[in-house]
Subunit: 241 residues, 2 copies
DNA sequence: GCCGATTTGTCCGTATGTATC
DNA sequence: CGATACATACGGACAAATCGG
């Protein structure tokens, strides 16, 4: 399944870096060398390398080369800087995921919710509360709001498995990007109850609020993910322009 | 000061989007049109648009066009997905920043610290504790570790102003990228004291741990930023590949 | 300190593929 | 089906930074 050339090269280099083919701080082969090994154009190779830069795997230095700055330790990453469903990230880390639907309902967006979520007033939505377990432990309490128009036929059964799987494979929707805000908020009684938290222990938690867009440019989902504070980790790499 | 063509186009389009020249969900002029207005090549224009995509400003849709998905509200953003010093971000938001140095010392990295920070053992470092105020309110307690070899001549006076200013303008260092991890941790007595927090109110806080690299590929800084939970916001945009 | 070789950065033009309408 | 729009890929030219002689 060759996707695109630059993506194949990107994956190959990424794997080589993770496999320690190049040691930390070592320079990768030069562009010209890599162009020959992959038998591609300069632009294509540079594109692949550019992806590695944004991943924080390598650093390019003009006049010198491309330096490997990858360090494992991110191996236990749970929430990383990509759009990834709970199922996907759990699988990737070889953990047993489980999802419990606490509430499945639908209604219209009122003024307050419109302000909070970014949906337009009166839009019809599904509202779902779900509890996500990893290895039998409840870690995340999700409040999902899905635009009914974009996600027709959503059921409780689907919500118990993977909604994203339904969106991508059944509805043929393409998820493109997701704007997120991370904040720290006080825990509520609901959090305390379902995530088995004790306010004496932790009285606040990590909250990730996100707006997700599909390839039609429609914001079809607003989600508030409430994370157990002791299991929350968010990885990021910032590149200065 | 024209930097590069693609960057100028990027800034211009970004400003136009922020100025509401294009309304939400509207398609921007097509690539070909923009190529003519900016009188540049296709590659160059696409590069500028690509930056807007990673910023979450626009979305490209094959066969259709480039859609504006920018919404203000991020205007009060404090911590955003870029490398930006405390001073810079404060200025950008028109707030009065102040920095108080609580501790300025130097020592060698021991085994534990090496594990935590990623510095090599026995490396000589500066360790600085700083309290950052915004409009007279203490918001962030920073624990900075700087590699002495890369940051010679650091003083308490510099730390009271802007260390980054010193690095870039005096030492001519170029900061390239920064790997960050966001977690939620319990507050300590020190946090409580300096950030004027009350454990009955909030007993945990947002912690951003970061490793920062310069253009020589050297990790010259490790910083743990401890944020008042009620003022912490981290913005991010994730693009699916 | 200069020069030349190497390496990455920017930019251009063109051709072809693919999705939308 | 054709026109339009973005996506991928190639090749070439010159600039800028690094490094060794």
């Amino acid at each position: 399944m060759p996707k695109s050339i630059y993506e194949n090269i990107y994956r190959d280099l990424k794997e080589k870096i993770e496999n320690n083919t190049f040691s930390y701080q070592e320079l990768l082969p030069s562009e010209n060398t890599l162009i020959q090994t992959y038998n591609c154009s300069r632009n294509t190779l540079r594109r692949a390398v550019g992806l590695l830069v944004t991943d924080g795997y390598v650093q390019t230095i003009q006049g010198k080369g491309v330096r490997n700055i990858y360090r494992p330790a991110e191996q236990t990453a749970f929430t990383i800087g990509e759009i990834e469903s709970f199922q996907e990230s759990a699988m990737r880390n070889g953990q047993k995921p489980k999802t419990r639907v606490l509430l499945f309902t639908e209604f219209r967006v009122d003024k307050n919710l419109a302000l909070k979520t970014g949906f337009s007033e009166n839009a019809e939505i599904y509202y779902i509360q779900r509890l996500h377990y990893l290895d039998e432990q409840p870690l995340i309490l999700n409040h999902n709001y899905f635009l009914k128009e974009s996600v027709p036929g959503l059921t409780k059964e689907i919500a118990e498995n993977s909604i994203y799987n339904y969106l991508e494979n059944e509805l043929n929707m393409t998820i493109v990007n997701s704007k997120r805000i991370i904040t720290v908020e006080k825990i509520t009684e609901i959090d305390e109850k379902y995530l088995k938290l004790n306010a004496k222990d932790y009285n606040c938690m990590a909250v990730v609020s996100s707006q997700t867009f599909n390839s039609s440019g429609i914001m079809f989902e607003y989600t508030q993910s409430r994370h157990r504070p002791d299991y929350f980790r968010f990885y990021d790499n910032a590149v200065r322009k």
